[in-house]
């Protein structure tokens, strides 16, 4: 049989299956055995988050308020379907949830709700709080997701694959790679057009030799050359893993989860980051606020479909993808109950970093619980002096003080705000880092110059 050369292949490359003949050694090895070390406990991470300016009004989800608060002018509510109802956690704690969350009921035991989580109380901007969520610093720094890949287990080639725009100022993002299903499809097709890299070849060794020579200095050019050397040294392994990927399917959330599943199974990356392409939640006017119930219904459908995919997609013969993946969902903060000086039936909402709700489930997490709570739960509630210092116009709900030993909210009313009294996002991140075995040197502090934020032990399975 006459072999096709590269130029002919360029023309005929789209023909299904043709590529395999150009990639015999990789394809053979790839399907012959899993690339995951047999004694490795598989543990992956999936972050589901919102586009860079969202800030979800969690009163439409698992941090709802009774309608009496709307009647008394405390909180806007454009939902027309009656009272929110208790969502009782398996730990005996309940929260009010709207009927919008119903599609998540089949997965109730798979995740826990963490309410009353404080973000960066010093800033109410999207950018600062997105940075704070992922890096613990409002101006950016070390993102916790890549860190999950650098534990006692052998790191994956990539820290994370990403779908959507991820606007975090992160200093460790070089191995977090945007890879849509269509991008993966093109990559796999491209891999099939060339023979595998031979790391024993003399040309390969010459290329590595020049990377090394240029990496020997101390400047930014040397650092980048060093990154080239290390990355190029891993390309063969990554290529053999990517060659196993079948990225057929629509460019949808479900498509991305399928892709994530394959990437996890091959061992190419430790984490997935899914930025939902749903916009319009950052509404400051009443017209936008009035659309929120419908928008949240679509958002919950997306979340339910992600959980459904995670549960139905097998990781191996005995475990689903959800069994091996810790899943987190949240935006950068919640929203105010209303706006100042607006009638309650014609108001929008503003940013509220004093409160956030997080959904946390999957591997390593005890699901079905409700952890933490926010205050201002009824219109006559007496708010703490600490709350009133931070929110003198009483426009916001704030996380209640938290008893980390017992895993429940406290009922006292602190006179002043002390970070260590509250459930901050640092504790949620440290809980995740703890379950992955991340070294404590990476753990978050309660605040700048504070102590290490306590792990929420009750969340760990």
């Amino acid at each position: 049989m006459k072999e096709l050369n590269r130029r002919q292949f360029l023309k005929w490359g789209a023909v299904a299956g043709t590529g395999a003949i150009f990639f015999p050694s990789m394809m053979g090895k790839a399907f012959a055995k899993s690339l995951i070390a047999p004694n490795e406990d598989p543990h992956f991470f999936l972050m589901i988050t919102m586009p860079d300016a969202s800030g979800l009004d969690n009163s439409y989800l698992f941090d709802a308020r009774p309608t009496e608060m709307t009647k008394n002018g405390v909180i806007q509510n454009y939902r027309k379907t009656g009272e929110a109802t208790p969502w009782l956690g398996s730990n005996g704690v309940s929260t009010l949830a709207t009927d919008i969350v119903k599609p998540l009921l089949p997965f109730k035991s798979d995740f826990s709700v963490v309410n009353g989580t404080l973000m960066d109380i010093g800033f109410d901007g999207h950018e600062q709080n997105i940075n704070y969520l992922f890096t613990g610093d409002p101006f950016g720094g070390e993102n916790f997701i890549p860190v999950l890949n650098h534990t006692s287990q052998k790191p994956k080639e990539l820290d994370a694959i990403l779908r959507g725009r991820f606007a975090v100022n992160q200093k460790n993002g070089s191995q977090t790679v945007p890879l849509s299903p269509s991008g993966a499809k093109n990559l796999v097709a491209a891999l099939k057009r060339i023979p595998p890299l031979d790391s024993q070849s003399r040309l390969y060794q010459y290329l590595m030799y020049r990377f090394s020579a240029n990496a020997a200095g101390t400047g930014g050019f040397s650092s980048a050359s060093d990154m080239m050397k290390n990355s190029f040294g891993s390309t063969n392994h990554l290529a053999s893993m990517m060659a196993q990927i079948n990225s057929d399917g629509a460019d949808t959330n479900e498509g991305f989860i399928k892709l994530v599943g394959q990437v996890f199974r091959t061992g190419a990356a430790k984490s997935g980051i899914l930025v939902l392409d749903q916009f319009g939640f950052d509404t400051h006017d009443s017209a936008g606020a009035a659309k929120q119930p419908d928008m949240f219904a679509k958002l919950v459908e997306s979340l339910a479909s992600v959980f459904s995919s995670l549960k139905s997609l097998p990781y191996d013969s005995t475990r689903s993808l959800l069994d091996v993946t810790t899943v987190m969902f949240c935006s950068e903060f919640s929203r105010t109950l209303r706006q100042s000086s607006r009638p309650i039936d014609d108001t929008g909402t503003d940013h509220n970093p004093l409160n956030n709700s997080i959904i946390l489930g999957g591997k390593g997490i005890r699901g079905g619980q409700v952890i933490g709570s926010s205050d201002y739960a009824i219109s006559t509630e007496k708010l703490s002096p600490a709350h009133l210092i931070l929110d003198k116009n009483k426009l916001k709900a704030m996380g209640r003080p938290f008893d980390f030993d017992r895993g429940i909210s406290r009922t006292d009313l602190p006179a002043e705000y002390k970070a260590a009294d509250y459930l901050g996002i640092g504790s949620v991140v440290n809980t995740i880092q703890s379950s992955f075995g991340v070294d404590r040197s990476h753990w978050r502090l309660t605040e700048r110059n504070g102590v290490i934020a306590p792990v929420i032990k009750q969340l760990l399975s």
Binding site: Q8, L10, G13, L158, L203, L207
Partner: protein, 209 residues
Amino acid sequence: MKKFTLVILFFISCSAHAGSNSVLRGYTQINRLIHERIAQRNGFHVGQYLLGQSTSSPQNGDLLSLLGTYDGSDTSAAYANGDPNTVNMLLWYIDLNMFAEDIALQCAPPAHEEILLQDDPKVFPLKLNPDFMAVLQPLCAWPNDAAKTDAVLYAFWSAILGFDAPPEEFQAWKTYFLTDPEYTTASPAKLIAAMSLSAMFNPYFLLAE
């Protein structure tokens, strides 16, 4: 005083350089360099080897954007995917490897295959710039001694890298191809493909200093 000021400026310059890494030039700039130095435009763009279609700049989220690109618009635009990582190094390798092999074929372009390519409106046959063709031709005589002179080798090297790389990079490259037994007697096609790839895969070509 003037000398003192220069010393201060030197240290400021050094510390600023040390503080931030170089990044990959990205697809758009490398494609432009290739047009300036190697290939005629004529619809040809180097990303066609990766995508199977010719395009001058990355589209949102496609593979070319992973090679380094500006993301966002207006004041929020930022250079993304510029740090070398396993994926973009793999992508550059695939793309430049195929491009290098295409360059090597120019010693004796197979006409019938070009016709095949011309049938497909998405990809375009490689046509070299006349200046680049002129420095390539002497190498087509490899392994004859006439192809191994400093003048021939430096002309080819500098046609790709310009003055971006220091002399020791050329020396290392030249020494390798003149002494490695795999290439001293290799066919012109094998030699030129390897020479082209190794020049383009050099940090001084791919990185923005």
